[in-house]
């Protein structure tokens, strides 16, 4: 590991200081650590080291050295390399340090790694009796986030079929990360933990987000509010014992006794499921189409008993 650390530092210094792109051969003959390698060993090492640089956040670029694009060289632009200074005050740095200590991303403290690059983690008083893990695989999240900010299209496997998406935004909601965007079939939402074989498009800036797009408004919907079905207005009664619980989900004031609520339903299936999770403590009063749906659902369950 010591050798790798030294070699990568030397390589990075060489790339930052060279006024023009340098070829792999020049790297091999100039940078300490590659000199005595065979062709094959060199190429293996160099590939690995380039990957390390990318993972460190170094914007390594490949550029043609001649008009015929026969020879290519590598370069790192010092201005692109430098982390932009967000201009944080001391107080802001402390607040971020507290937050980054508390919150993990798929088990990793990516926020703390970021703070280190921004000048280190600030001391904060006491130990927080609080912690949160935002789940999901940090690498996939990072790649999707990069695709969103750089406006690159992505392709991935989702439930064994391939999807294409222009990603507009992502959200963490109810324990899962979601990515939202435009697919050839229209606006779609995918769960990040179900995404496999993610590929990010090579070209940036290939689409633009619709005016006024806000991922929050899409994510705020309850399951029965979206689904493309014909909207019906349902009237429901909840027993006093569960009324507070239902009121929180429906975002209405908590009643003192029982709750009678009117709900816009666009997805009967999801709505009926939610109502039945209350057992006999909730009743749909109208419309009859939903009452029929519940009756047939319950009958089917009874018919299926062993």
């Amino acid at each position: 590991m010591q050798n790798v650390v030294e070699r990568v530092l030397n390589l990075l210094i060489y790339l930052l200081e060279s006024p023009r792109p340098v070829t792999a051969d020049e790297v091999r003959n100039t940078v300490q650590g590659y000199d005595s390698d065979s062709d094959e060993a060199f190429h293996r090492k160099f590939e690995r080291d380039k990957d390390v640089l990318r993972r460190l956040g170094v914007p390594l670029k490949m550029e043609a050295l001649d008009a015929w694009e026969i020879d290519y060289g590598y370069t790192v632009d010092p201005d692109e390399y430098a982390v932009p200074d967000p201009g944080l005050s001391q107080e802001e740095r402390v607040a971020l340090s507290v937050a980054a200590r508390m919150v993990r991303l798929g088990g990793s403290h990516a926020g703390l790694d970021a703070l280190v690059k921004l000048g280190g983690i600030e001391r904060s008083a006491g130990l927080e009796p609080l912690g949160a893990d935002l789940g999901a695989e940090a690498e996939t999240l990072g790649s999707l986030f990069a695709a969103i900010t750089e406006k690159r299209p992505v392709t991935f496997d989702y439930r064994s079929s391939q999807r294409r998406l222009n990603p507009y935004g992502m959200a963490h909601r109810r324990g899962h990360w979601y990515v939202v965007g435009e697919s050839p079939e229209g606006e779609r939402l995918y769960r990040v933990d179900r995404i496999e074989a993610l590929e990010v498009g090579a070209e940036a800036g290939t689409f633009s987000k619709p005016e006024g797009f806000d991922v929050r408004s899409i994510m705020d919907a309850q399951p029965w509010e979206t689904g493309g079905g014909e909207e019906v207005q349902a009237k429901v009664r909840f027993d006093a014992e569960v009324a507070w619980w239902a009121a929180r989900t429906l975002r209405v004031d908590e009643p003192r006794g029982e709750l009678e609520a009117t709900v816009q339903v666009a997805n009967n299936d999801a709505f009926v499921g939610w109502i039945l999770s209350f057992g006999s403590s909730a009743e749909v009063l109208e419309p009859s189409v939903l009452r029929d749906e519940i009756r047939s659902r319950v009958s089917a369950a009874l018919d299926g008993l062993p």
Binding site: D49, A82, S108, D113, G175, D214, R248, S299, P306
Partner: protein
């Protein structure tokens, strides 16, 4: 593939150098704290810096780096006056951490302004593209966190998971945490006379009792999820494709899987929860085994058919 330990080491070195260069002379203790170093690690990294530099690698080409009593000095490293830019994962990690705390309704103005500065600097377009929300509809997370910090006993009205019943109990909160999108409070439950973990969204009322408790010397690692007990009602259910979401929402054990269905074992403290689940799944699931659950499905189903006649 190069190990992530190598990456973290390099990342820390590339952040350390610009910081020390900017300070001119840096204090050892400040560096240990700020970059999470032990003194040995810091010495080792400075020794590495000291042997790297420009091609030629003669004395005049290498960086200078050394510890002089309590001071750290780095020189001849002008190409490293800035740390590398944040990787997307790092930017996301920091923004998400800030947004999580803001979402709890606990944010200071400093945190809000820090997050908006970061957003502008790192991802100009992310303002409306990223949201992190650990829903706390109950507004109880802040109160519980306060109680845990000050060791205050709270009494809660709690709707238990699985049993679907509401109880009143006094708890001594030790830690408040979020995982899988939900907030939990862990501590000693005076009703159960044992350690318990509660879902914050299922707490209806919360009051400080006025009493202060003695916290444990060390808080055990919190356990989330349902732990099956010997008294549990167990049943076996076949799920059809439309009901596969159950696997993500309930702690179930997969018994077998075929092309068209998944057979699961479901444990719960009483038959109510699996019975309600079977009713809402209708023809998308079928109970295979579990006489108590079958009886409850039948009873509850009949009463629902009565209601919806």
């Amino acid at each position: 593939m190069t190990s992530s330990r190598t990456i973290s080491r390099l990342s820390r070195i590339l952040a350390l150098i610009p910081y020390v260069l900017e300070q001119g002379v840096a204090d050892v203790d400040d560096l240990l704290e700020r970059f999470g170093y032990t003194r040995d690690q810091l010495t080792r990294d400075l020794n590495t810096v000291f042997v790297c530099g420009l091609p030629g690698y003669g004395p005049g080409d290498l960086m200078e780096a050394y510890i002089d009593e309590d001071d750290v000095i780095i020189d001849a490293a002008d190409y490293f006056t800035n740390a590398p830019r944040l990787s997307p994962t790092e930017a996301l990690g920091l923004l998400a951490a800030g947004m999580t705390v803001i979402g709890m309704g606990d944010a200071t103005p400093a945190l809000e302004s820090a997050v908006s500065k970061l957003t502008r600097a790192a991802v100009p377009d992310a303002e409306s593209a990223l949201t992190v929300d650990l829903v706390d509809e109950s507004q109880n997370v802040s109160k519980l966190r306060e109680a845990a910090s000050d060791h205050r006993v709270v009494s809660i009205t709690y709707r238990s998971v699985g049993k679907e019943e509401t109880t009143q109990r006094a708890i001594e909160p030790w830690a408040v945490f979020a995982t899988l999108g939900r907030w939990y409070v862990m501590g000693y439950c005076r009703m159960a006379e044992d350690e318990r973990t509660f879902r914050v969204d299922r707490i209806r009322d919360l009051q400080f009792s006025g009493e202060v408790f003695e916290p444990p010397a060390s808080v055990p690692e919190p356990v989330v999820g349902y732990t099956a007990s010997a008294d549990d009602v167990v049943c076996v259910i076949d799920l059809l494709a439309n009901a596969y979401w159950v696997l993500e929402y309930y702690p179930v054990e997969i018994v077998s899987e075929s092309k068209s269905k998944i057979r699961i074992r479901f444990s719960a403290p009483d038959p109510e929860l699996p019975a309600r689940l079977l009713l809402r799944l209708g023809r998308d699931a079928r109970l295979v085994k579990g006489p108590e659950v079958a009886a409850r499905v039948s009873e509850l189903g009949q009463s629902l058919l009565e209601t919806y006649r």
